[in-house]
Amino acid sequence: MSLNHDEVRRIARLARLEISPDEVEGTRARLNGILDFIAQLQSVDTRDVVPMAHAIDVVQRLRADQVTETDRRDAYQAVAPETEAGLYLVPKVIE
């Protein structure tokens, strides 16, 4: 499996990473180097093997559905790039 320039641009778009025209080729070459390396996994017979999502076999803990967080809006918004009246500001999405 080898990526071409269009695929590199498509993946970058999916990942929300701007990629300049002069970065595409270098990125493609390095990504393909890594994909070539991980291709060795395909040669292993893994029929009947149960995928291992996690190292420790435990079930998800549940807790009572109660409010445990206190209101720390000011502290959280103190590190935000742009806020106004307790709201996070972003460019206009809906016309």
Partner: protein
């Protein structure tokens, strides 16, 4: 006091031979002198540290005691610390002051430790050489032309140069053990789930685990006893009995069965590393241990499986950095999506972007089964290999790294070459096992070599015992850069 163990520091503080303020001052002076060359710290704040030290002295004056009360240490900059910058080695978070403390940081605060500063690291813990840090590479104190390893390279360099008595690190694929090996330290990655990940900036959530980096196994035991414990804010934190990880340190090793995976002793290990590891195994035999050959037939696939699973999880975790709630936001953009794309492109470095792209690709429509599920199946095979091996041995040993510390630039041009420097450590993370690196001698050019000790799940106390007994009959762990050979 720079060579003193945590226990010695603890005694000196308890007997009022030194105050926490004096002790912190001694290390701060050393940091001021050495850090400009080593670049091990991203943030140092003398006033804040001394305020913390005064608080520890006040607690003691009020009658409080505790093995770590007033002991200085430093945290990898991946741990959120209220009031201090937490950069994760990235431009993305270069202005980020966390509104809360990580669980590990909380635990050490409760124990009364004094924070000396925040330690440099590969950006978002992605790297094996510390060359990916936005704040510049850390130098190896044994030879400033060489890398300290990564991603906890700042932690390793700071302890090795005795700028701090001990440090925290995190290990996703070897990021505690590999730098510990390359800088001549003792480092322990606990069993997955033993230490809470709350407030530890996420890289690959099914693999990330925090642990201690220190001068000896005894110090690591003391640190781990403070760090470990259940935390309901981490959904994978395990509810277990509280452990004193130092409880077995003094046990003799007679009858210990050491498994030697034949795959770890084949080609790929440099001769100088092999010589030091073999000598350490001889020492263990003299201590009464027996060695037995074991096999981890799928371990050769671990790096490839890791470079599917870790980037996949990273691409998901790092999607939170969008320039909206915290972190870098581009100055100019056309619309919302453009703001995301530009903020992320500017905020992340090359290696982080590369892993996000790989992760995005392997999780994208049509490729999920071929890459991600396949890698998870191989992860199962790797874990099963260890289960089989531990039927005939108590611990597994081998090299931590294939070579001693390499030079800057040597591997940074080829990502795959860099990834292969973690060839002996990655399988441990995939299986969720505890792993350690302990100094076992010196290789070419006087650079430290690490012996890796891998235990069954939750065998930390046993591994620390195994390491400690070796450190009673050798002094590799006590050597520091600049000592006469």
């Amino acid at each position: 006091m720079i060579r003193a163990s945590l226990k010695e520091l603890s005694t000196a503080l308890a007997t009022r031979k030194i105050s926490a303020v004096e002790l912190a001052g001694e290390f701060l002076d050393r940091i001021e002198k050495r850090n400009p060359t080593l670049n091990a710290f991203i943030t140092v704040d003398r006033d804040r540290t001394l305020a913390g030290a005064r608080l520890a002295d006040q607690r003691r004056a009020k009658g409080e005691t505790g093995p770590l009360l007033g002991v200085p240490l430093a945290h990898k900059d991946i741990f959120c610390t209220g009031e201090w910058l937490t950069t994760c080695g990235s431009k993305m978070l270069s202005n980020f002051v966390s509104p809360y403390d990580a669980h590990v940081v909380e635990r050490f605060k409760t124990a009364g430790t004094v924070m000396l500063g925040k330690l440099n690291m590969d950006e978002f813990a992605m790297g094996s050489s510390n060359e990916t840090s936005y704040f510049g590479p850390v130098k190896n104190p044994w030879d400033p032309r060489r890398v300290p390893g990564g991603s906890s390279g700042g932690s390793a360099a700071a302890v090795a140069a005795r700028l701090t008595p001990a440090a925290t690190g995190t290990d996703t694929g070897g990021s505690i053990r590999q730098p510990a090996a390359l800088c001549g330290l003792t480092g322990l990655k606990p069993t997955y789930g033993v230490v809470s990940r709350y407030g530890m900036i996420a890289f690959a959530s099914s693999l990330d685990q925090a642990g201690p980096m220190a001068k000896s196994a005894e110090d690591c035991a003391l640190m781990l006893s403070a760090m470990a414990g259940f935390d309901e804010r981490d959904s994978t934190s395990l509810r277990r009995e509280t452990e004193d990880y130092a409880r077995d340190l003094a046990k003799p090793l007679a009858g210990l069965r050491i498994g030697l995976p034949k795959e770890f002793f084949g080609e790929g290990m440099d001769a100088d590393v092999r010589a030091a590891v073999e000598a350490a195994l001889d020492e263990y035999r003299r201590l009464g241990a027996a060695t037995v050959e074991v096999s981890l037939p799928n371990s050769g696939l671990s790096v490839a499986a890791y470079y599917v699973i870790a980037p996949a999880e990273a691409s998901s975790n790092l999607s939170r950095f969008d320039g909206v709630r915290y972190g870098h936001r581009a100055a100019e953009y056309a619309d919302l999506v453009d703001m995301y794309c530009k903020s992320r492109a500017q905020g992340f470095g090359e290696e982080v972007k590369r892993r996000i792209l790989i992760g995005t690709y392997v999780l994208s429509h049509g490729y999920y089964d071929a890459y991600y599920v396949k890698a998870q199946k191989i992860r199962r095979l790797i874990a099963t290999d260890f289960e089989e091996a531990f039927k005939v041995c108590d611990v597994i040993m081998g090299p931590t790294t294939p070579s001693v510390a390499f030079r800057f630039g040597e591997k940074s041009a080829d990502p795959v070459q860099m990834y292969l420097s973690d060839i002996y450590t990655i399988a441990v993370n995939l299986a969720g096992l505890p792993g350690m690196s302990i100094p076992c001698g010196f290789g070419n050019d006087g650079m430290p070599v690490g012996l890796q000790v891998i235990g069954p799940w939750f065998a930390e106390a046993k591994m620390l015992n195994v390491a400690h007994q070796y450190q009673q009959v050798t002094d590799w762990h006590a050597r520091m850069p600049g000592d006469a050979a």
